[in-house]
């Protein structure tokens, strides 16, 4: 059981790493057509000494960048809200089955005939298995939630910096 648990932990770490690699190759879906709105932005004044053509290119670049960041924020927000209920569900199940395991084990120690002792032994073993499986699923989902939460926070900060440049 512990071997399975550690294998899943390693696999979840691999998934996190794979997601990072995939993100580095993240490409924008479409281009931004209008730049007139950005012309009204205060940041536009930074480029007053360059030509009009260069302004448009710069603003287009910033818009594209912001759009890309927004897509990443949406992606990680979605991941966050998927992983959180999974974590809550399976961690609750793990705690529930942990309680059931303890009750079954206490009853096992009170049995004074073979058949009932065997029954409670089987019950304890089953509840332990359910508890471990729930914990094993909840840990990667917790890791995934933390990663998503952190990534979303980083990109939000990046977007905020871009808008206030």
């Amino acid at each position: 059981m512990k071997i399975i648990f550690f294998l899943i932990l390693i696999f979840s770490c691999f998934l996190l790493n794979a997601q990072d690699i995939a993100e580095k190759n993240f490409l924008p879906i479409d281009m931004v057509n209008s730049v007139d709105m950005e012309a009204e932005n205060d940041s536009f004044s930074l480029f007053t000494n360059t030509k009009q053509k260069d302004y448009k290119k710069e603003i287009e670049k910033i818009n594209l960048w912001n759009k890309e960041i927004n897509q990443k924020i949406t992606h990680w927000k979605k991941q966050k809200w998927i992983s959180l209920p999974i974590f809550i569900l399976f961690s609750s199940l793990a705690v529930y089955y942990s309680g059931k395991t303890n009750v079954a084990y206490d009853n096992y120690g009170k049995q004074t005939n073979e058949s009932s002792a065997k029954d409670y032994r089987t019950k304890t073993e089953n509840y332990t298995l359910y508890r471990d499986l729930s914990a094993v699923i909840s840990i990667p989902s917790l890791l995934w939630f933390i990663t998503s939460w952190n990534k979303e926070r980083i990109y939000k900060k990046e977007l905020w910096l871009n808008k206030n440049l």
């Binding site: 049995q111 004074t112 005939n113 002792a117 917790l142 939460w149």
Partner: protein, 130 residues
Amino acid sequence: MAKQKFISLFLLIFFLLLSCDTKVFDNPFDANSTFWNLNLTKQTSNTITLTWEDKVEGESGYKLYRKDTIINDMEISNKTLSVYQKISPNVVSFTDTFTTQKKLYYRLYAYDENENLSVRFAENNISLTK
């Protein structure tokens, strides 16, 4: 961010500990349980103290068998070997006196309200030769 890390670490450790907790099955009435130990200590020239662990909560008591040769399962099931001493429930030690200088074999069973013996028993022997 520090608070976030602390909560995450706490939850991770909690679930790691939760999944690593294993139960030991040691009820003598369960045939698949672990072995039950009986410790023998020679106290004086003619007394031995027997100690064991109280593995069951609802037992009616313990039955102790003693013999100067190896005790067989058949002797117990056929009742050809009589009970040497009945011990009250939840007691975990017994002091025995001896006059012989031979080897003594002991077996301890727990029993229920219907006088059924536990499947597992605690067994040990002691050499009393000088």
